[in-house]
Symmetry: C2
DNA sequence: CATCATGTAACATATGAAGTTACATGATAC
DNA sequence: GTATCATGTAACTTCATATGTTACATGATG
């Protein structure tokens, strides 16, 4: 299964980082991600290991992007966030020699690999930068519509 | 996410049914599926609703396939077993109006649909009958190799 | 050296899947 | 008809795992 919550929550945080020109604290990210600071550190630690973000301690510390948003794809993030691989079929330690298991695996393991490959390929086609721009577009549109409402009232 | 355990466990049960010429009790299936009778009934109930199996009460009762194994595909079973749809991204009730969420959705919802479609298409290409035959082949091979070992000892 | 921020272990809570018990319902054999 | 067998299902109990929380250590900055 694909855990969406993690991915979309992390994207919230990253978009937040792009906006801010300075390091963002776990505390601030926790708000953007609707969670708490420790969880933020836990999740961001994974991204740091993949070289996507950096963390700095002390005054003025916090989290920053380690790479150009145009060079970071959703696939990178998905992987860093701990992609559980789409499926785990048959790789359980339960019945290593079970013949039914083997037959099922043979029939499906290729499919799983293929599906996962396609999924990652698609994610790889979307950069963080593109996402940020799309978000800004939406924001502008949203503002516009709010203003329109105000004018209509006036 | 794709819950494999369910699918592969159910396949165990179904192959068992193909082998037996008569109704198989939940008790017997529980052994084949390494679980207990109530869970078997719970899971099989889903397959019954999809018209894949039948259940009969009383003496000589139990579970039987409702259709020709050559007409049942793994996609049918996957769906009946309660396919949680590969992913749930963004459809959470949490932030219905969140613009980040919307941007992410737009970027990925098509991908999710596509990936799931491919997955089901592949599953749809494998029939229960084909799987059973493959299993029998493996079984024969396994027996053969056991006999070889015995002869070698003699 | 006081303060701020991350790093992390240890524990608490929540959610959902799976297992279990208990009993109702229906079917078959005698 | 009634004893027995099998499913149907509600209610409850684990169990696993993700998430949240507390507490404290580490390191950086002013």
């Amino acid at each position: 299964m694909i855990r969406d919550s993690r991915l979309s929550s992390v994207l919230h945080g990253l978009l937040h980082m792009i906006g801010a020109g300075e390091p963002v604290t776990s505390e601030q990210l926790a708000q953007a991600m609707a969670t708490n600071p420790v969880v933020v550190r836990r999740v961001m630690a994974g991204l740091r290991e993949q070289g996507l973000v950096r963390s700095e301690k002390g005054h003025g510390g916090g989290w920053t992007l380690a790479r150009d948003p145009a060079d970071i794809t959703l696939a990178d993030i998905y992987r860093a966030v701990g992609a559980p691989t789409i499926v785990a079929m048959g790789h359980r330690s339960e019945n290593p020699g079970c013949l039914v298991e083997q037959a099922v695996n043979d029939a499906l393991s290729g499919t799983f690999r293929e599906v996962e490959a396609i999924f990652l390929k698609r994610l790889g086609a979307v950069t963080l930068d593109a996402l940020a721009k799309d978000f800004k577009r939406r924001l502008a549109k949203h503002k516009q519509s709010l203003e329109d409402q105000i004018h209509a009232v006036k």
